[in-house]
Symmetry: C2
Subunit: 201 residues, 2 copies
DNA sequence: CTAAAACGTTAACAAAAGATAAGAATTCGT
DNA sequence: ACGAATTCTTATCTTTTGTTAACGTTTTAG
């Protein structure tokens, strides 16, 4: 995909949050860069400050932490979604997690530095504050839903939710990533799948 | 506590996020109201749109959902913290949870209507966007931490975290609220406490 | 193309958690 | 102050999950 197509897609997706006029857009895109991540390469790593927010033009990533030498996958992001180790990005402190490309992934990137240049550029400041607010609110709602499912639902119920809603996650993802995502072990997920199969058979 | 003291506290706490000059402050406070919630009264209820964000001057609240007729407590907020059923507030759709005062609680309230009046008031718009962004980012980080603990830690580890960090939550909170908050049953928490006692004895 | 690595299922056993109920201690409402 | 309700612990039993290991299959890398 060429960069102008990617930018057009980005602009269209952004319009959920904020609409730039031509003059603003020209300045805005000067603060963007492209990043191409080969499969298995990292967008963010434990112990390193995450300097970027990315917007996924194509591909996908997984978020994981390492505990007792084990990788534990906590989340995924797909096309037309944002990706960052937000706490690290926002505080510019070292990240506690990894973010890794699951496929070859093309991203539009806003560095923390460029974001703050825009937040301090009178031409863009207002819209960037608004943009930042709406993005943060959007992901706040995602987290609120996800926390609620952990508090009120069993792993089996969360998996059934995934079957009905989370098409994309299930299609191409290794099952042990999904197990972690649900808060259980791969073996346990395999058993849950068996139980469901037996019931629906 | 009188209202001017409360406002002074609020102003000071807000300075973590945004600093108002005198002219702005005068307009800002015209968009605030006070709310006094008796113990056990609700700040938000299932099925009703949550129209307000509150700032807790004194007291505390718990967030809970009802599942199979059971109340399941998912979170708490204390003095100098914000409280809202954010998804409902932000989308103005009916809430899926309840928020209830644990003690008599005094709040400073910004209604959704007033928030949007300020967001559209040229005198305040920029700072309110910024305020909204920073608040959302703050709670995004809280959620990120909390999700991480659910994905990577056992209930026992989460309880031990609470023992070292969460002083306030543990002090005055019924134990079955804390159990829900940890994602387990009250009986299970009681057993975890016993195990810990036996080890440290 | 081939060897190695990763993946998903299953089994067997251990550990933990859920459900239910009983009983004592504490708190609450009036 | 009193009875009722709530809270916490403990016990028992059941269910679920974790752990480890084995096995066949699939995918990956060189």
């Amino acid at each position: 995909m060429d960069t102008s197509t990617a930018l057009a897609i980005f602009r269209q997706q952004l319009e959920k949050y904020v609409v730039f006029n031509e003059a603003e857009w020209i300045i805005f895109i000067q603060h963007l860069t492209f990043q191409s991540l080969k499969k298995k390469k990292h967008f963010a790593e434990y112990g390193k400050v995450c300097c970027d927010v990315g917007f996924i033009i194509s591909g996908s990533v997984r978020y994981y932490m390492v505990k007792d030498g084990e990788e534990i996958t906590g989340y995924f992001s797909f096309e037309n979604e944002f990706v960052s180790s937000y706490k690290s990005y926002l505080t510019q402190q070292p990240a506690v997690n990894y973010i890794q490309a699951l496929d070859d992934t093309l991203l539009i990137v806003i560095s923390h530095k460029n974001m703050h240049l825009m937040l301090n550029n009178p031409m863009l400041a207002y819209k960037m504050e608004r943009f930042g607010r709406l993005i943060a609110e959007h992901y706040l709602i995602c987290y609120e839903d996800r926390m609620a499912s952990f508090i009120t639902k069993t792993p089996e119920e969360r998996y059934l939710d995934l079957l009905t809603n989370g098409r994309e996650v299930l299609q191409r993802m290794p099952q042990h990533y999904i197990a972690n995502f649900l808060g259980i072990t791969p073996v346990s997920l395999s058993r849950i799948r068996r139980r469901i199969l037996e019931l629906t058979r």
